[in-house]
């Protein structure tokens, strides 16, 4: 499990390089996300490479979401595949997290000024 990060306009886009975000990779994911979450309000996680996300992976994402939310931040997910999307819908996480088809869409949405 590897994370590659690029920052655009102050917003980090984290690409998850792992076949599965599951029990075997969730811990490492959480550990590696920690510094990124600490330093930013809005974070985009790109899941284009992830084939499957199980309950452990979900849990890890929820942990990140809670972390950002407590600082009034925002977690965006980009490029979820069919299986990942299904897992998110089952857990109703698609209501909590913002989903976008591509990282670019997510960036565009994040650059918009916040409403009142």
């Amino acid at each position: 499990m590897d994370l590659t990060v690029r920052t655009e306009g102050g917003v980090p886009v984290v690409r998850v390089k792992a076949v599965a975000l599951d029990a075997s990779t969730a811990l490492a994911f959480k550990r590696d996300m920690e510094p990124i979450l600490a330093g930013h309000e809005t974070v985009i996680v790109d899941l284009s490479d992830v084939d499957l996300m199980d309950s452990s992976g979900l849990g890890a994402l929820i942990t990140c979401f809670s972390r950002l939310k407590s600082n009034s931040g925002r977690l965006c997910l980009a490029g979820p595949g069919d299986s990942v999307r299904y897992s998110l819908e089952l857990a109703r996480a698609d209501r909590l997290l913002d989903l976008f088809n591509t990282a670019e869409d997510a960036l565009a949405a994040c650059r918009e000024p916040d409403g009142d």
């Binding site: 199980d54 309950s55 849990g59 929820i62 996480a93």
Partner: protein, 680 residues
């Protein structure tokens, strides 16, 4: 309309005599005079039609009668000194012929009048008949009928009397203020009704006598009463009278009045039947509403998507609303609570108490679930204790008690736990023994005592077992000879149908009860809940099968998933759609992860055995281990609001595949079986 006054159209005796008899009389030198007659005596001066007036005795007299009444006398005198001779006889004969002709013409006219009156009656009756079928109300119809009666003369007075509660009341009136009621017998109208005779009074004395009982006739100069009795015996009368001195009523009036009176009586009879039907309809609606309340408030819905359980329920309402209730709580696909209860007593009060108790269950469950620090499902005894605290003080005050049975079917642990508060026994069909046992707890009905300790009874469950809950309306159902259906018959029915699905078992019991009692409605509510433990169909061998052992490590979850995937994508996808396969693989991944993390607690050196099988209608994945058996009831449910990051695993498994079973296999290994049905 019959015109009872008009006489001008009628041929006049006098003018006929003047035209026909007088010229002949003059030629013959006879003297003719017409004397008007009133009653039986000559009244008034004669009319001299021919010849000089004379006071000699007449040589001939011809009486002219009309309708049986003498209307005139014609006197003839021959010329002075000739005496009654041929001329007098001839002219007498002529006058006789004229009188006959007049009589015939009058009769003919009378008949025509009668006929036209009949037509008018028919017309009146027809008009009103067609209105009976319209949407006009009873008062309007009666008004129309009475208007018909008085159309001839705006000053005519009319009252329609109808029998009600042993006396006569005025149903409609025109130009009159009748008294509020009259006796049914005695008095003119009562007499007309009881003797079934039409009455026409024109005599002042008779009218005075009548008005002693019926004061509205006090100023009548002529009066007609037409009584009527309808086919169902409803009595009534239409009375019509005038207070001026016009021509008195005759038979034509009576015919019309009779027709109208009958119409009016029928209208009123119709109205009464309608009222009765309306009342019955209201009662029927009330019973229906009561039964709707019963269905929606008292009876829960048996859950569908259960893992390895099938549930069916029915409650047949008795003739009155009563207090049987049942409800279901599905905690997990394999974890189901069943509550059946019976409020002693009938009627809306019992039904409301039943509904309140049923809803209190959910509150107690929720309250206890939230209260525990570590979220854990409260056991049935704890729930009933909480319910007792909320409900029993009220029951004691109201002096009502409730029997109930609260059962929990846990297929994770493969047990049933229940609390029985004075309810009927649970019939438990044991597949392995091939027969039923009857289960009882020893708690008292709710409302008997203020303090009670609730005891949990636990027993193991096996595939093919069936639970049958019922209300005493079933066992206490009676045959015409008084014998009760009884528990033995019910047990026989369950045993006989034990291989069928629960709905079929319930249908069988229902038919048996209807046949036994001879009715399809019952004295007391008949309530049944049937629950069967089912499993994947293991009797047919798999079409294809692979098996492999894996090392228990988190990273192996992906390997296991790939292993299952490789089997499933062969043979044109094994009948699973892409999305079905994706969901199955997710469930496999989760289940394998659970075994590593929880069953083996992430210890090294353990084995996970995976078997994948394709059957005719489904694909099975079996994951077995020899680690710790998972106590699934202690796993908390997921939270969807982002406040907890755990608890999704079991939820994902259950929601992704069609069936999940937890069991031990023949070698003592703990197994999780995931079933995905093929696409049709």
């Amino acid at each position: 309309m019959v015109d009872m006054k008009d006489q001008t159209a009628r041929p006049d005796l006098r003018s006929e005599l003047e035209d026909l008899a007088a010229p002949l009389a003059r030629r013959l030198g006879l003297t003719l005079a017409l004397y008007p007659v009133d009653g039986r005596s000559v009244a008034g001066q004669p009319v001299w039609l021919s010849g000089p007036p004379t006071d000699r005795d007449p040589d001939g007299v011809v009486e002219v009668t009309s309708r049986g009444v003498t209307s005139g006398q014609v006197a003839l005198w021959s010329a002075e000194g000739e005496g009654a001779g041929g001329a007098v006889a001839e002219v007498s004969r002529l006058i006789g012929l004229i009188a006959d002709r007049l009589r015939l013409e009058t009769q003919e006219r009378d008949l025509l009048d009668e006929l036209s009156a009949s037509w008018e009656n028919l017309e009146a009756v027809y008009d009103i008949s067609s209105d009976l079928h319209s949407l006009k109300g009873t008062p309007e119809l009666l008004a129309m009928i009475i208007d018909r009666a008085v159309t001839a003369d705006r000053d005519l007075k009319a009252v329609m009397w109808i029998e009600s509660d042993g006396r006569l009341v005025p149903a409609a009136a025109r130009n009159a203020s009748p008294p509020p009621e009259l006796p049914l017998t005695g008095g003119l109208i009562g007499t007309a009704i009881s003797s079934r005779t039409d009455m026409v009074l024109t005599d002042r004395h008779e009218i005075d006598r009548a008005s002693e009982v019926e004061p509205e006739f006090a100023r009548a100069t002529s009066l007609a009463v037409a009584p009527v009795t309808t086919s169902v015996g409803l009595k009534g009368a239409l009375s019509v009278w005038r207070e001026d001195d016009q021509t008195p009523f005759d038979s034509r009036v009576i015919h019309l009045l009779k027709a109208l009176a009958l119409q009016a009586a029928m209208v009123i009879e119709n109205d009464r039947l309608h009222q009765e039907a309306l009342e019955n309809e209201l009662i029927r609606q009330e019973v229906e509403i009561g039964s709707d309340i019963q269905q929606s408030l008292l009876l829960g819905t048996p859950p569908g998507k259960l893992t390895n359980m099938r549930v069916a329920a029915v409650s047949l309402a008795s003739r009155q609303v009563a207090g049987d209730f049942y409800d279901f709580f599905r905690h997990r696909g394999y974890l189901l609570d069943v509550i059946v209860g019976d409020v002693m007593g009938k009627g809306i009060a019992a039904a409301l108490l039943g509904a309140a108790t049923k809803s209190q269950f959910l509150r107690s469950l929720t309250h206890l679930t939230a209260f525990a620090g570590r979220i854990r499902l409260p056991d049935p005894a704890a729930v009933v204790s909480d319910l007792h605290a909320e409900v029993v003080p009220e029951l004691i005050t109201l002096d009502i008690f409730i029997t109930l049975c609260y059962a929990r079917i846990d297929l994770g642990r493969r047990v049933m736990e229940f609390v029985d508060c004075g309810h009927t026994e649970i019939i438990h069909y044991q597949k392995r023994e091939g027969r039923c046992q009857r289960l009882k707890g020893d708690n008292l009905p709710l409302g008997f005592v203020a303090e009670e300790t609730y005891r949990l009874v636990t027993l193991p469950l096996h595939e093919g077992d069936m639970m049958f809950f019922y209300s005493d309306g079933v066992t206490e159902c009676r045959r015409p000879d008084g014998e009760m259906y009884g528990i033995e018959r019910l047990v026989e029915m369950v045993e006989a149908n034990a291989d069928l699905n629960p709905q079929a078992v319930i249908d069988g019991v229902k038919s048996s009860l209807i046949e036994f009692s001879g009715h399809d409605t019952f004295e007391d509510d008949v309530t049944c809940v049937a629950l069967k433990i089912v499993g994947a169909d293991e009797t047919e061998p798999p079409v294809d099968r692979i098996e492999l052992d894996f090392v228990s490590e988190l990273e192996e979850a992906t390997a296991i998933r790939m292993f299952v995937r490789s089997f499933c994508v062969a043979q044109q996808g094994r009948g699973l759609s892409d999305s079905a396969l994706a969901r199955l693989l997710l469930a496999v991944h989760e289940a394998a992860t659970n075994v590593v993390k929880h069953a083996y607690e992430s210890r090294q050196g353990n084995v996970i055995n995976v078997v994948v099988e394709e059957f005719q209608t489904q694909v099975n994945v079996n994951i077995s281990h020899q680690g710790r058996d998972l106590d699934l009831s202690t796993v908390p449910p997921p939270e969807f609001d982002g406040t907890r990051d755990g608890g999704f695993g079991l939820y994902i498994i259950e929601e992704s595949v069609d069936e999940v079973r937890y069991f031990d296999d023949n070698e003592g290994r703990h197994c999780v079986s995931l079933v995905m049905k093929k696409d049709k």
